[in-house]
């Protein structure tokens, strides 16, 4: 009896700590007052409306969207062939390569950001946008390799040989036979990469410069100056967007198989 209540308590607390902040944010954004407080100061949707009128939010949202889409595409262009090589050929040190590829998620983002700033942006005078693009590509790459690898491992290699004997080149066999059979894995990797890139803070923190900021960074600096509930409203909107994407992915792809 006791253990039953204990486990219920633990589950309850866990859920409260996991999901609680989410509800606090949603309601904090609905405040009718001018400051972020909880419980909210009356109810209104005015801050949710205001989010769309802030110029810097619009710009940084565009940048974040750009990085998330093209950074992830770049990571897939690099990651799919890498995953293919690792799973199909008996390459030496395959495990080591996988670990090295995963380095950007293991090494703290602050360090990655600092390193990129110190050795790329400053000495080579890379533009901030280019550095951000490279950083996001590198961060998403491990997910791309992992997720695509797992769907490649479920694919028999004899069908590529069959395609070759029917007249395909090896690359042709990859395009016509392998890609169509791993497309849901690639899509899953894209979604995971997109969400990862979009929510990324520490690396972008170092690389953001004046006028070039990703959305999370922009929200941070907005809050330093203006402590109004619009940041809470925006956070709530972003969280809902992420949830919606993952929900759709799970529904149509069985997303959790890949992660």
């Amino acid at each position: 009896m006791t253990s039953k209540w204990t486990s219920r308590l633990i589950i309850g607390l866990t859920l409260t700590f996991l999901i609680g902040p989410f509800f606090i944010i949603i309601f904090a954004g609905m405040s009718a007052g001018d400051f972020m407080t909880f419980p909210p100061d009356g109810l209104s949707l005015k801050w949710y409306m205001k989010v769309f009128t802030v110029e810097s939010f619009r710009e940084s949202f565009a940048l974040s969207l750009f990085l998330a889409i093209f950074g992830t595409i770049a990571a897939l262009i690099l990651g799919v062939p890498a995953a293919y090589a690792i799973s199909r050929y008996n390459i030496p040190y395959a495990e080591t390569i996988k670990t090295v590829v995963a380095a950007p998620i293991i090494v703290p983002g602050i360090i990655v950001g600092l390193a990129l700033l110190r050795y790329l942006v400053v000495p080579l005078s890379f533009t901030v946008t280019l550095a951000l693009f490279m950083a996001h590509t590198a961060l998403v790459l491990p997910y791309a390799v992992r997720v695509v690898s797992s769907s490649l491992n479920n694919l028999r290699s004899d069908m590529e040989e069959a395609a070759v004997l029917l007249g395909c080149s090896r690359i042709g066999a990859f395009m016509r036979v392998v890609l169509p059979n791993i497309q849901s894995g690639v899509l899953a990797a894209f979604i995971l990469g997109f969400v990862t890139s979009f929510n990324q803070v520490p690396v972008s923190l170092f690389l953001s410069g004046p006028g070039v900021r990703t959305l999370p960074i922009d929200m941070l600096s907005y809050m330093e100056i203006t402590y109004d509930p619009s940041v809470a409203a925006l956070s709530a909107l972003l969280a809902l967007l992420s949830v919606a994407i993952v929900f759709l992915a799970e529904k149509f792809l069985g997303f959790s198989r890949y992660v």
């Binding site: 004899d158 069908m159 040989e161 069959a162 395609a163 070759v164 004997l165 007249g167 080149s169």
Partner: protein, 342 residues
């Protein structure tokens, strides 16, 4: 050059350090139907893969149509292969699986359509043209894989156990169909099988392999009636094989004094050549089983076990009975001592 269409010369095949086929020589004429027969793991699939160009031989040459193709890429050899594992494309329908190679050839759409339909019809799958492989039974997948290779009309078609997953009836139908197609098109075919009856029924010549080495090559008649080794004899149904020394049988448990025509080597009998009921020798029935036309006996004797068979209509000897039998000299097959075959 001889008139060989496919010629394997001193072919040596290995996976890394593991040599599977040490040295293989084989000449196949154009339009010939060859059965590659041998126990599991003897290197049949490996040999097929080498001919198709899916693996590079360690040494030796592969000539096809008089051209050295040892280093020609697989997609340039004009060879078809029906995989033991089918290797169908899971994302394509049956129709598209068969059309795959034809589309690559940039054939007109109308011709592709008629060829695919003909191909599916040949293997009896017209009604499943819109199914994906995952929605088909094992035997249907196997036939689909066959159709996919057939429509390409390759110069040489390799079939790795193409009928293994079919029921007896369908197997017979497909066997006949394959033979008809082969005669009609003149395609050179090499097919792998475990089943000696299938090899005997279908092939112009049988290649019998053991541990990566060819034991014997010959017509079905030759292999069935004149097996050259103990292994070949055993494979083709001589289930009673005994060593002979000075006209006596040396069995696993002892010897049998008799007056056979042979001085040494082995004597072999098919079960059907040994009948139970009368004869100079005796043994105890250990097992009896009904096999349609005949009843098969396992008999324990002083010198080893005997497999015998009587017509099914004859009286039954129950397990444990002491029975008489004969090892008739006239139906014995004599294997002289050859090479390492002891």
């Amino acid at each position: 050059m001889s008139n060989a269409f496919v010629s394997l010369q001193k072919l040596s095949l290995a996976y890394g350090q593991t040599v599977v086929v040490p040295e293989l020589n084989l000449d196949i004429r154009e339009g010939e139907l060859i059965a590659l027969l041998g126990p599991s793991g003897c290197g049949k699939t490996t040999t097929m893969r080498a001919i198709a160009g899916l693996m590079t031989p360690q040494s030796g040459k592969i000539h096809i149509g008089g051209v050295d193709m040892t280093h020609t890429p697989a997609n340039k050899r004009g060879i078809g292969l029906v995989f033991q594992s089918y290797a169908l494309f899971p994302h394509l329908t049956a129709f598209e699986n068969v059309a795959f190679g034809l589309r690559l050839k940039k054939m007109p759409v109308s011709e592709i359509k008629s060829r695919v339909e003909e191909g599916l019809n040949t293997v009896g799958l017209s009604h499943l043209a819109d199914r994906k492989p995952a929605e088909m039974s094992g035997g249907q997948q196997q036939r689909l894989s066959l159709a996919r290779s057939l429509v390409m009309e390759p110069k040489v078609l390799l079939l790795d156990e193409p009928l293994s997953n079919l029921d007896a009836r369908l197997r017979l139908d497909m066997r006949t169909e394959l033979q008809r197609l082969q005669r009609a098109t003149g395609i050179t075919m090499i097919f792998v099988t475990h089943d000696q009856a299938e090899a005997l029924a279908l092939a112009d010549r049988i290649v019998l392999m053991k541990d990566g080495v060819i034991e014997q090559v010959g017509t079905p008649d030759e292999l069935y009636n004149n097996p050259a080794s103990k292994f070949a004899a055993d494979f083709f149904g001589f289930e009673n094989i005994f060593a002979i020394k000075g006209s006596n049988i040396i069995g696993s448990n002892g010897s049998l004094t008799a007056n056979f025509d042979a001085e040494n080597g082995h004597l072999a009998w098919r079960p059907s050549a040994i009948s139970v009921g009368s004869g100079p020798f005796q043994g105890t029935v250990m097992g009896v089983s009904f096999a349609g036309e005949q009843r098969e006996y396992v008999i324990k004797t002083d010198f080893g076990q005997i497999k015998a068979a009587n017509p099914a209509a004859d009286p039954v000897y129950e397990i444990g009975t002491l029975v008489a039998f004969d090892l008739p000299s006239k139906s014995a097959w004599h294997l002289p001592n050859v090479g390492n075959d002891s």
